[in-house]
Symmetry: C2
Subunit: 474 residues, 2 copies
């Protein structure tokens, strides 16, 4: 370039940059104006006691923004992200206008603190709140972990998982589900099913996106989406519907920014298993709409009715998450896995590599051994079935409650007949008066009439706990 070329290029850039700065300032001005409007809306809502969240209004805005993006040739992901930023800020501004919304007084944290306080005083509680089986992990697993430890399998290993475990998982999927297509670059060994779920959500959804979640459900899906800045779109199910999601409702819930549908059966907390036809239809909807199905099959070994699996008819986009925590009663080993198309899997692996490097090799060796422990898994499964039967019978004796008998998983989720029932207050009273802990239904969605009983206790404890519940409700 000659000197005069450079000068020309310099002044051209200079001019463009000034325009960029002006536009940026204009954007900020409009944002400020928008927040001002949000505050005024907040004042009206506060004055007239209207709720701050309004999905219909948000949906309409999303449509308008996407339409605008289309017309202007702007990346839609950028549009949805900016809208999400604006909406979050608007809500913050609106909340600041109203009287601070009353926080629920009885949170799981408050309950947990209360339980610990009581236990410290030496009183023995009946703990029906913790979501894990009480079975011992297989002895062979302990031996394998210990042997690996003493053989110094105590160094860094590849992030995806050791080849021995990946290959054992392939064999397991082939044997257990007749699924023979799993390639090693589709599998990842994760520190628990929870990390598999987080990395799945973080890989398919970004800030401003949305994901369909069926409730009642394990709160980790919503928590993960909140962390990412994505919106959970909740499809509610009811006991009256046998906790079955309606595919039509799922379809109707999908927004233009929806990226995935999360399914998890047998379900926590209801123990329900989705009908095969409904599962297939829902997966078909996802496929038609180009969405990812995240199927969390962590309770698959506790299924007493045929339970559909994503492996039976994979959609184009899928992530299977699972874990050794429940079937093998290995919660405290923190080891799970995911299966997804290679490209998705490689993006999930980046999250794992960034945050934890790898799962300890000696634990992975234990997990590989666990896959051979079919007998223990069957024994655990049979024991849980007996508990479901006995505990359901016990719960049925309580007039104030109704229950859909769990078809799987390790929980019962009774519902009070009284429509004004407040499960959080009930749980606290139960703890204080009867020394029994349960999980209020509000921890799993908008279910104040329900509470969760974990069946991870010997039957006599479960029976004693349920009888105390009956006493309080009787």
């Amino acid at each position: 370039m000659t000197r005069s070329d450079m000068e020309q290029s310099g002044s051209e850039l200079q001019g463009l940059r000034e325009e960029v700065a002006e536009t940026t300032k204009e954007i900020i001005k409009q944002v400020a104006r928008r927040i001002e409007l949000a505050k005024r809306i907040g004042q009206v809502k506060s004055r007239d006691s209207l709720p701050i969240d309004n999905e219909r209004v948000e949906d309409a805005l999303l449509e308008e923004v996407l339409q605008e993006c289309k017309e202007l040739g702007l990346d839609e992901q950028l549009g949805t992200k900016i809208l999400a930023t604006l909406l979050a800020e608007s809500k913050r501004a609106q909340r600041a206008q109203g009287s601070a919304k009353a926080q629920p007084l009885i949170t799981p944290m408050v309950m947990m603190a209360k339980a610990t306080e009581i236990e410290k005083k030496g009183k023995k509680l009946i703990r029906l709140d913790v979501g894990e089986p009480d079975f011992h992990p297989p002895r062979a697993v302990l031996d394998a972990v210990s042997e690996a430890l003493y053989s110094y399998k105590t160094y860094y290993t590849v992030g995806r998982g050791i080849p021995e475990l990946l290959s054992a998982l392939r064999d397991y999927l082939a044997k257990r589900y007749a699924y023979r297509e799993a390639a090693e670059n589709q599998l990842i060994v994760t520190p628990g099913g929870r990390f598999a779920v987080y990395s799945a959500l973080a890989t398919v959804a970004s800030e401003g996106d949305s994901v369909v979640v069926i409730e009642p459900n394990w709160p980790a899906y919503k928590e993960g989406l909140d962390y990412i800045g994505a919106r959970p779109i909740v499809v509610q199910t009811t006991l009256e519907e046998r906790w079955q999601p309606s595919p039509e409702k799922v379809k109707a819930a999908v927004r233009p920014n929806t990226k995935a549908i999360v399914l998890s059966y047998p379900a926590n907390p209801t123990g329900a298993i989705i009908d095969k036809a409904k599962f297939k239809e829902t997966v078909g909807i996802a496929d038609d709409l180009g969405l990812t199905v995240i199927s969390d099959e962590i309770y698959n070994d506790y299924a007493y009715e045929p339970c559909p699996t994503i492996l039976e008819g994979l959609p184009r986009k899928y992530i299977l998450t699972s874990s050794f925590s429940k079937g093998w009663s290995m919660t405290g080993f923190r080891v799970g896995y995911s299966l997804a198309p290679a490209e998705t899997s490689s993006r999930m692996l980046k999250v794992l590599g960034l945050m934890i490097t790898c799962v300890p090799e000696f634990i992975q060796r234990g997990a590989a051994k666990a896959l051979e422990c079919e007998e223990e898994v069957s024994r655990n499964s049979r024991a849980m079935k007996e508990r479901i039967d006995a505990t359901s019978a016990e719960l049925r004796k309580i007039d104030a409650l109704e229950l859909l008998k769990p078809e799987g998983a390790i929980y019962a989720f009774p519902q009070a007949k009284d429509p004004r029932f407040d499960s959080a207050a009930f749980a606290m009273e139960l703890l204080e008066k009867k020394g029994v802990t349960v999980s209020p239904g509000t921890g799993f969605g908008d279910y104040p009439r329900c509470f969760r009983i974990s069946l991870g206790q010997p039957q006599e404890v479960l029976t004693a706990g349920v009888r105390k519940i009956g006493e309080l409700l009787g």
Copy 2:
């Protein structure tokens, strides 16, 4: 409310909402205009071969946005976040205008694949690239883990860490650093130092923020910031400066959106230890500016000159991260910890709870035992000192290289005298011709003349490896 009140409130809301929608569309229009300008800038830059990144321009924009926020009473965090979104999109648009920038041909991934390929053919390589000590973990740790396993410490535990380990860590910090203030609600047990670092970064910085990082350095800090959407502001150090960061440069690097400064000494990859006065001054700068100091003290047990610690004079905002990986040679246990003010710690804990629930209890029991294993740590430290001495002497024999003798950590980071040296190409050639792996300096910042040798091998292997390096360079 009467019916007419409701109607009035409804139409008032309706009017405000229409204004919100209009403003939203106006914002999107301006964003599209801004992207259009970015594309034109991209065309000019591509035509005149100018770089896309321009920190000076970005800084000026940031100032203007913050000024605008101040004038309009808009939350500055919101302004920086929107600017970050716009800048990222602008760069994407600019890149799309230019010819795709040539990717480096020799990445760590390519090298690793090559090494695996060679090893599969049965050839034994000298691996000087893996950043972990080769020592055995303490026998007492193996025993403690195994005992905990067989005592069924295999269930969920509290996210923060078991009380036994938290209390052992308190005692350790009191003994090792004469730091007696650590409360249990300030400590968190993490799955490795890497997770402690990630959750520290994610807690202090959000999208649009920036964090000062000194280079050369472990790439995980930058990777974490990228994931969060925050910008790493790099302060470079040179061998000529004894890899010492200048506090003035650190101060000058701080932007209005800077939230933290990351310090990590003894340093990976240089083995340098920051001068005490410089450390103190840097911490003071952070304190004056209200920034968090993240001090990653993972190599503290491999320090052969006095190494400052954040515990000696805590700033108001601090996060100490550390790990059992290096001092105890427990990389594959994936257990580390963090110490921070209670409120910061509680926010970090949320990230851990969301993603991994807890670190396995049997591993935590091993970590608690490790804290008693002072002898093994001293032995590891002495062995590493001998390797540093012998390997440095060996490296000094190579005329083409210069070296600042490491004062700590477990690496040597020689620099080629030839200013045109290409360490990535050299590393590949060394692997192919001599069967030795090293890590190119470009993996730790802009250091193409340097490469990292990990001292996690017996001395005879290190000497053999360095001699082969000498042969290739000789």
